[in-house]
């Protein structure tokens, strides 16, 4: 796979491996998959089941935690441990699980409503803490399970059941939001591009810390064609900026477009490569410590998605919350002279006692 940088962090070291070769089928359950026929979720499920065997992790040490929504049915279809929790709370629940258990690979499956509306607070705090979580945010820009209301990523003016005269509120750009929260790994991919999706999932899995992967996912019932602009086989490439670390940000059907730094204001913008010259094209640096660069990239896609970067926006190595929390506990335990029971005795006794005969 060459689409996405291989980061090679030794991030999975704490999770038990298996020597037994795994297949995608090992990760399937006997439960009937209940998404609508044609839903983009099927492609993501197949990609996840297809790539997990590559990691070689013991299946019992993988956990999928979800909230509520169509995508949140995901854990039922994964033959791992799983929890289908409540609306918006999966990042919080997963934070406790990942903190308590160093030996687990914890995945959060969520949607644009679950993660960005009702669960917005938990999401941004999980991201800023840098907990060892892999968050797959299925963005279909609509509420599907509740049958078609606009979501916090729907474009302004969206006509839905709850907004017959058009929605009024500005949408979130999930990648910009995540970068604003200083997320250490942020990527975007598309349900229909199995190869790219798989490469991004692998990079996320290898990242130690919180990884947020926004997956553009088509809801063919309530918001069909939301991403047709970039999925179009003939012209889609004109709008899709495929980011690879260390490579110039050139795109378009004939590689005629490129991302440059606007000499006027220093912002990133798209220009004709032949006009500006190849040396002006920005070379992608996913490891840039300052998130401002990745943020500027994320702003290339506005609410109407004209230019959409896909791939890894940012991947930097920072200490994780859960590793440090366990580190504090381990440091305190290391100083303990006796065992917990004898220490309990001195705790209860305290400093100031008296005796009654």
């Amino acid at each position: 796979m060459t689409d996405v940088v291989e980061l090679g962090f030794p991030s999975l070291g704490s999770i038990p491996k298996t020597d037994i070769p795994q297949r995608a089928a090992d990760f399937k359950t006997d439960q009937e998959v209940r998404w609508c026929p044609g839903c983009g979720d099927y492609a993501v499920l197949a990609a996840v089941q297809g790539f997990l065997p590559e990691l070689g992790l013991a299946r019992e040490n993988i956990v999928f935690v979800s909230g509520i929504g169509c995508s949140s049915r995901f854990p039922y279809y994964m033959n791992t441990y799983g929890m289908h929790s409540i609306h918006g709370r999966a990042p919080a629940i997963a934070t406790g699980l990942a903190s308590a258990r160093e030996d687990l690979s914890v995945w959060v499956v969520t949607g644009d409503g679950d993660a960005l509306s009702i669960g917005g607070n938990h999401l941004i705090h999980a991201l800023r803490r840098n907990v060892n979580l892999k968050i797959l945010l299925f963005n279909n820009r609509i509420y599907g399970l509740t049958k078609g209301q606009y979501s916090p990523t729907s474009e302004v003016g969206k006509i839905t059941k709850s907004t017959p005269m058009g929605s009024l509120d500005n949408p979130f750009n999930p990648v910009s939001l995540a970068l604003g929260a200083e997320t250490t790994f942020v990527a975007r991919t598309i349900d229909s591009d199995r190869k790219h999706l798989t490469s991004v999932l692998r990079a996320a899995a290898e990242h130690r810390g919180t990884a947020l992967v926004e997956i553009y996912q088509n809801c063919n019932i309530f918001n069909d064609g939301a991403f047709d602009l970039i999925k179009d086989r003939t012209n889609g490439a004109d709008w899709t900026v495929r980011m690879e670390h260390g490579e110039p940000l050139v795109f378009g059907t004939d590689s005629s477009r490129g991302v440059i730094r606007d000499p006027e204001n220093g912002m990133l913008t798209v220009a004709d490569v032949n006009e500006v010259g190849k040396d002006k094209i920005v070379v992608h640096d996913a490891h840039a410590e300052d998130s401002a660069y990745a943020y500027a990239l994320s702003r290339l896609s506005t609410k109407d998605l004209p230019y959409t970067p896909i791939g890894v926006f940012r991947s930097v190595e920072h200490p994780t919350y859960d590793d440090q929390l366990r580190g504090q506990v381990a440091a305190a335990e290391a100083k303990l002279a006796g065992d917990h029971t004898s220490e309990l005795g001195s705790l209860l006794r305290g400093q100031d006692t008296w005796t009654v005969d």
Binding site: G82, S85, I86, A332, E343
Partner: protein, 489 residues
């Protein structure tokens, strides 16, 4: 009545230390303490030692406080204002080694002890809230016991993280007060559905809404009992004194672990911040709370292959197996959607739902088989009136009962530690008395449960105020009310 210029004398006593008048006047509490120490013949060394260590880094302040304390003592000794001094005999207490302990400290220690006794690492997910925050502060100091404390972004994340940790095999605990309980309700419902151990420590305060954060009340009993969507029974344990918070915490954890259920530990601001002498327990005498995680498949599929059913129950406790991630062969998915009995797969079947609702209720009801009978204190043995209480009113109710007895009447006191489920003998106890009086710091919440469950025409006695020591007149009035009940008038 004696009047004295407390501030003036204090300022005079500490003037050699060069403090400003305002700062000097702040030592007047020590002057008063010195005077009281003289009046009640209390030893002074402990106070002086305390002041010296408390202000070890500020010798001027230490010296001023000690001087004020001594001045107060000397004032009592030399002035002729006071003709008598008193000596209070030690309270009759069981032999043993004692220390002082507040309710929140005892509760925190109880949780640490439960972690040690269960062998499970304690995970506290909490959001700061008065009057519960001290438990978070305390537990954060005890990482050497393997305790993880997580200060969450909000109340919901606090309990969510605790539940996630429980799923992973930790002892998940969250601490909060009334408004936080409201926010946690949905997650408590999830814990009921997941049937995982979880302890919710609710330190009640005055409500509704923000209410009175620093004042006590018992008005969240109904919230603990019923404050969730759907039929979502949760056991409730209520400590009766600051030191009792230790035992109550162990008991809440016992129920949570044995029955795989969320449990409410319902304390309040009065217990949390109040303190009392505590006979330090013998570690060897603490209950064994060890648990067994599931390690083997417990069912066979249609083809004869072993499989794991997460909702196949223990026939005695109705608890489901606790299989934690990392256990090979027991991979399973659980969630808030109704589950098929046994397999735990999603089920929308109405008959199954009815069975599951009844089973979850039966499981919580069954906790009653593991709790002691309600014991009644009736020294004369002929009382016709029972005063039934719960929580922090134990002391005041006991004092009121003693006064009634001193006035020549008989009265019985019963105090509930378990409110859901009730002890199995409660119905029989209630029927033994002609009248049942239920004093509460709310408008009648326990009484509503008692009347509904046992069809007993209990009388309420309700105050929504702190346990102020009432004035003599008010106290007489209250006693008269009770005695009126005793006399059947």
């Amino acid at each position: 009545m004696h009047s004295l210029d407390l501030t003036g004398m204090t300022v005079e006593a500490v003037k050699e230390f060069g403090l400003g008048r305002k700062e000097a006047a702040r030592a007047k509490n020590m002057f008063a303490l010195g005077l009281l120490s003289w009046m009640y013949n209390r030893p002074t060394e402990g106070t002086i030692d305390f002041l010296r260590s408390k202000f070890a880094k500020k010798p001027d302040i230490a010296n001023a406080n000690v001087a004020a304390f001594r001045a107060g003592w000397n004032y009592g000794e030399t002035t002729e204002d006071f003709s008598v001094s008193y000596e209070v005999k030690p309270a009759a207490m069981a032999a043993g080694t004692y220390r002082n302990i507040s309710g929140n400290l005892a509760l925190a220690y109880g949780l640490v002890a439960a972690s040690v006794q269960s062998g499970l690492p304690l995970f506290l997910g909490a959001y700061p809230i008065t009057p519960a925050s001290d438990i978070l502060h305390e537990l954060s100091k005890h990482k050497r016991f393997g305790v993880q404390t997580f200060q969450a972004e909000d109340e919901i994340a606090g309990i969510g993280a605790a539940l996630g940790a429980s799923f992973g095999g930790a002892l998940g605990v969250t601490t909060t007060s009334g408004p936080g309980v409201a926010l946690k309700s949905e997650t408590i419902g999830l814990a009921v559905s997941l049937e995982l151990p979880l302890v919710i420590c609710a330190i009640q305060r005055g409500g509704p809404s923000t209410g009175l954060p620093t004042k006590t009340e018992q008005a969240d009993l109904m919230q603990a009992m019923y404050g969730r969507n759907g039929e979502a029974p949760v056991p409730i344990v209520a400590p009766q004194s600051p030191a009792d918070c230790f035992d109550a915490a162990l008991e809440a954890v016992r129920i949570a672990l044995t029955y795989r259920t969320p449990v409410f530990l319902l304390s309040d601001g009065y217990l949390a911040n109040g303190s009392e002498p505590w006979r330090i327990p013998d570690i060897a005498g603490l209950p064994d709370l060890s648990v067994e995680f599931a390690t083997e498949p417990n069912h066979t599929d249609a083809k004869g292959n072993p499989e794991f059913w997460p909702y196949l129950r223990d026939p005695e406790t109705l608890a489901r197996p606790w299989a934690i991630p990392g256990t090979a062969g027991l991979e399973h998915r659980i969630g808030g959607i109704e589950k098929a009995d046994g397999s735990g797969n999603i089920s929308y079947d109405p008959a199954n739902h009815d069975l599951m609702v009844r089973t979850r209720q039966a499981k919580v009801d069954g906790v009653a088989r593991s709790i002691p009978d309600l014991e009644v204190d009736d020294p004369n043995g002929d009382a016709k009136v029972l005063v039934l209480g719960w929580g922090s009113t134990y002391g005041p109710i006991g004092a009121a009962c003693r006064r009634v007895r001193k006035a020549g009447h008989s009265i019985a006191q019963g105090h509930l530690r378990h409110i859901n489920p009730f002890p199995t003998n409660l119905g029989e106890v209630l029927k033994r008395y002609e009248k049942v009086i239920i004093p509460e710091m709310n408008l009648g919440q326990l009484i509503t449960l008692i009347r509904a469950r046992y069809l007993v025409d209990a009388m309420g006695y309700n105050k929504n105020a702190r346990h102020a020591v009432p004035g003599r007149r008010a106290r007489r009035g209250a006693d008269r009310d009770v005695i009126a009940g005793v006399d059947g008038s």
